[in-house]
């Protein structure tokens, strides 16, 4: 770089920045499905994956849909507002897993049921002290975050 004149150095850097931004954008666009961590219920219902494919499904646990079966088996529905997918899972759930909250499961889609082998809870960006939530609930103005 030293051998170049100052204005030429600036030009080279500008070209490099543009090329870098462009290539990043193209790679990001081309690989967006691979980079996205999970699929939404709508995507799964629209284009159902083959039975052998292991993928991640993410969405909100539908209110009132959790059914605890025998042993550790648990059934619930996952929704994204557009479509709903039945999920069955056997195992221990993370602490934050509850109705109306986000979750991401790994597993396969068979006969319209997502059989999960692993469940993660998705935390949203709301942070509130317990006391404040209790007070809001008492006044009846508390709304469950999305």
């Amino acid at each position: 770089m030293k051998s170049l004149k100052k204005t030429r150095r600036i030009q080279v850097i500008l070209v490099a920045v543009v090329a870098l931004a462009l290539s990043t954008a193209l790679i990001g666009y081309a690989m967006r499905d691979g980079i996205n961590f999970f699929r939404s219920p709508s995507q799964v219902v629209e284009t159902p994956p083959v039975e052998s494919e292991v993928f991640r499904l993410g969405g909100l646990v539908e209110e009132g849909s959790i059914e605890r079966g025998q042993g550790e088996v648990i059934r619930f529905r996952v929704t994204d507002g557009g479509a709903t997918v039945d999920v069955v899972y056997k195992g221990v759930l993370p602490d934050l897993f509850s109705e109306g909250q986000g979750m991401i499961g790994t597993g396969t889609y068979m006969n319209g049921v997502f059989e999960a082998t692993e469940i993660l809870a998705k935390h949203d960006e709301t942070y509130m002290p317990k006391e404040v939530v209790d007070a809001l609930k008492e006044q009846g103005v508390y709304q469950e975050p999305e």
């Binding site: 990001g28 996205n36 942070y127």
Partner: protein, 242 residues
């Protein structure tokens, strides 16, 4: 008066000597206030319980990990364009600090993720680009050591820094580009409604200020060390000749 005056090593040494103690003391004050307030005088979160307190280390460390790289990018570009040695040395000095900040953010994030998400690590876009940023820091430091000629080393690391900025910016904005990831969006917001509750926000602001000041103090200190080691090398080279 011009900003470029401080690119003169002598002027830089004089000014940084005066400023350094102020930054160091302010950093200590902010960190002590922020961390003690955050750890001992805030209540538990309604869903996370006491685990919420990791925010006081994780968020400022992650911010500084990215900001340190942006600072290195700016000083590297100044070096490439204007050839000020102090600028290149400031970038070199900042890298290990940024590396440690990245490591803190990765570790605290894993410790938070285990009880909250149910996993230490996932290949989520944001987490992955942050790990790549960590590797870029390692590569950047290694490249400085690997090249004998200091000017060539500064040139090459500057270009590495330019490329690494992709991942520094991605780890900040990945949640906006690929919204189907595990990591939540930013909790801090200028919009009062969506911002994290004041209970956590105020101590967090002190922690962020503390991390910024600590970073500035450490960069000044390490840049001074780098300048001195350059001077020693110059003296030794002269003696060998004479």
């Amino acid at each position: 008066m011009s900003l470029w005056e401080y690119a003169n090593p002598k002027k830089f040494m004089q000014t940084s000597q005066v400023l350094l103690p102020y930054f160091a003391v302010l950093a200590a004050v902010c960190l002590v206030i922020g961390l003690v307030w955050g750890f001992f005088f805030t209540t538990d979160d309604y869903r996370q319980g006491a685990t919420v307190k990791i925010i006081y280390l994780h968020v400022p460390a992650a911010m500084m990990a990215i900001n340190a790289w942006v600072m290195m990018l700016i000083t590297s570009l100044v070096w490439l364009v204007r050839r000020h040695h102090v600028s290149a040395l400031a970038a070199k000095a900042a890298a290990p600090i940024g590396l440690v900040m990245t490591l803190i953010a990765l570790i605290t994030g894993a410790v938070w993720g285990q009880p909250m998400w149910g996993t230490w690590w996932v290949w989520d876009p944001r987490l992955t680009s942050f790990l790549i940023l960590f590797l870029f820091y390692l590569g950047y430091i290694a490249l400085w050591e690997a090249v004998e000629n200091p000017d060539t080393a500064a040139d090459l690391t500057s270009i590495l820094c330019l490329v690494g900025s992709v991942f520094a910016l991605l780890s900040r904005y990945a949640v906006n580009f690929w919204n189907q990831g595990l990591h939540q969006g930013a909790s801090l917001s200028l919009d009062e409604e969506t911002n994290v509750h004041n209970e956590y926000y105020l101590p967090l602001l002190f922690c962020i200020a503390g991390f910024v000041l600590l970073f500035v103090a450490l960069v000044l200190l390490r840049t001074r060390t780098e300048i001195r080691s350059r001077r020693i090398q110059a003296i030794m080279a002269r003696e060998r000749l004479g």
